[in-house]
């Protein structure tokens, strides 16, 4: 059985400005929280889990006791709604430059939260989760650039 790695939220959270820090921490915690000794979740740094000689690299469990350790969906929803409200506020009140940056960052945060928080895709495949978030990042960056350069 793997031991808990003890790593906290990763560098992802450091990228976000203070209004986004909470959401960034949430995403970072989703991706890189410590190993669970029961093998439910396994970050990249942890070795594969072996049970009776079978190598297990991805587990989706519906055990309520295990799921209780996950971030509650209600918390994810709250942050998503908060980010939506903030992006509307940014769209109506900020000048073009910061507005583009805020809209891009908040939209990317929401997309990442849907992928990591609702879909929990990183458990199945980190590559797929990363590709989806990367694709969303591309579109959000283009949208943010358009807004920022609109003036």
């Amino acid at each position: 059985m793997p031991q808990a790695s003890g790593k906290g939220p990763t560098q992802l959270s450091a990228v976000f400005a203070p209004p986004l820090r909470g959401a960034g921490l949430l995403i970072g915690w989703c991706v890189a929280r410590p190993c669970k000794p029961d093998g439910l979740l396994r970050p990249r740094s942890c070795p594969p889990i072996k049970m009776s000689g079978v190598r297990i690299t991805s587990i989706m469990s519906t055990d309520p006791k295990m799921l209780s350790r996950d971030i509650p969906f209600s918390a994810i929803l709250f942050v998503l709604l908060l980010a939506t409200g903030l992006s509307l506020l940014a769209a109506t009140s900020l000048p073009p430059g910061p507005r583009g940056l805020a809209i891009a960052a908040l939209s990317l945060t929401k997309a990442a939260l849907v992928v990591l928080g609702f879909m929990r895709l990183h458990r199945e495949s980190r590559a797929l989760a990363g590709a989806l978030i990367g694709y969303a990042a591309l579109i959000c960056t283009l949208a943010g650039l358009k807004v920022a350069l609109a003036a």
Partner: protein, 163 residues
């Protein structure tokens, strides 16, 4: 994960990505048209629709996690139908202005939002079908497609409404 499911997911993302890219490009080439279009859009209703769709995704995620799949899938489907009703109401407000506009930008707007609306309606019906007799594998699959619909809307919002 099933390969076909992910081929479907990426096909949808590529199609919507191309449409959104075209919208961004046309908007950059014709700023006055983009400003007129943006002025005609119903932003508060789009915000409410976003909240409804995110709430619906919450129920779909709960269903996929094994929490009362039948009721959570039905709640997610109801959220989808509510989103459709809100979008149709918004179209009713926007049609008089956008109908008089010429050019490709309004056409793209109708195409992107209408195509997404069709997706929401179709997958909401699928959610109801799966909710009838939920099986974990089917529940997870339909929830994944529903989150894709969520994700596409979250990309439409900054490109079209917040821009």
């Amino acid at each position: 994960m099933e390969l076909l499911l992910w081929i479907l997911v990426w096909s949808e993302l590529v199609v919507f990505g191309a449409l959104l890219g075209a919208f961004l490009l046309l908007g950059a080439l014709d700023p006055p048209m983009r400003a007129t279009l943006h002025g005609a859009l119903d932003l508060p209703l789009a915000a409410i629709a976003t909240a409804v769709l995110l709430g619906s995704g919450f129920f779909a995620a709960r269903a996929a996690s094994g929490h009362q799949p039948r009721w959570n899938l039905a709640a997610a489907a109801l959220g989808g139908f509510a989103f459709c009703a809100l979008k149709l109401t918004a179209f009713g407000h926007e049609l008089p202005v956008l109908g008089e506009m010429e050019g490709h930008l309004p056409e793209l707007y109708w195409l992107i939002t209408g195509f997404h609306l069709a997706h929401v309606l179709f997958v909401a019906v699928l959610l109801l079908v799966v909710a009838w007799r939920p099986v974990p594998r089917q529940t997870a699959t339909v929830a994944t497609v529903w989150h894709l619909v969520d994700l596409v809307w979250l990309l439409i919002l900054p490109v079209i409404y917040l821009g």
